[in-house]
């Protein structure tokens, strides 16, 4: 049983990985996923999503979830 972790844009480059599966043992929220995956504390200006819905660091994560981390978004136009 596991959690899928995804990284995008500059976060992906900094972390050096795009996607991984981590064991959900000992993981209760979004910040735990980040810590488990990167071995450092979750930065303030990072955005996260659980199953493609924006999520706060303290939001609970369940087995089978897809958790994504990314910088502030910059789509659209000038």
């Amino acid at each position: 049983m596991s959690i899928t972790v995804r990284f995008f844009a500059s976060v992906r480059e900094r972390v050096g990985k795009e996607r991984e599966a981590i064991d959900c043992a000992g993981i209760s929220n979004v910040a735990d996923v980040w810590r488990q995956s990167t071995r450092v504390a979750m930065p303030d200006n990072l955005l996260a999503a659980i199953n493609m819905e924006y999520a706060r660091p303290d939001q609970p994560v369940r087995d089978g979830d897809e958790v994504a981390f990314f910088p502030p978004v910059t789509g659209g136009a000038p």
């Binding site: 500059s10 493609m52 978004v73 910059t74 789509g75 659209g76």
Partner: protein, 146 residues
């Protein structure tokens, strides 16, 4: 209401014509069409831009663009809405995004169009990386206040 994500260059004006012709129920029923097209410039923050890569979180972008479009449709009396957003490799002068709104009156058309373009910029998971003569750089989000 249509939301499309495209990997290839598109002509927003042709897409608008096609959409309007395909929605035959619209004919004669709308008095106002408001369109916003965002285009890649060949400069940004005092640097030349040679190309841009638009990364996105594929099904999440579609989901959130559809939600923003649905919100606009429920807040204002509009007849139809079309949103097209590029991703992948873009060249200067390429359209990035197109938002078109059909409504009976112009107040609703302008308000809904503005709402969609403003909201998608803060909620749809896209990230721009520019190629400049000084190398690649990720574009920072624009400040909130306007």
């Amino acid at each position: 209401m249509t939301v499309r994500l495209l990997a290839e260059a598109f002509d927003p004006w042709r897409e608008i014509v096609h959409h309007q012709e395909a929605q035959s129920a619209l004919a004669g029923k709308f008095g106002a069409t408001t369109v916003f097209v965002g285009t890649l410039r060949d400069f940004n923050q005092d640097r030349a831009v040679r190309a841009m890569t638009l990364e996105h979180y594929a099904p999440m972008t579609q989901k959130h663009l559809e939600r923003v479009a649905a919100e606009a449709s429920s807040r204002w009396p509009i007849a139809d809405l079309l949103v097209i957003h590029r991703y992948g490799e873009l060249s200067p002068n390429d359209p990035i995004v197109c938002v078109a709104v059909w409504a009976e009156r112009r107040e609703a058309a302008f308000a809904a169009c503005r709402y969609v373009i403003d909201e998608l910029k803060t909620r749809a998971p896209f990230w721009k990386q520019e190629q400049t003569p000084q190398g690649r750089r990720w574009v920072a989000p624009e400040p909130k206040a306007e």
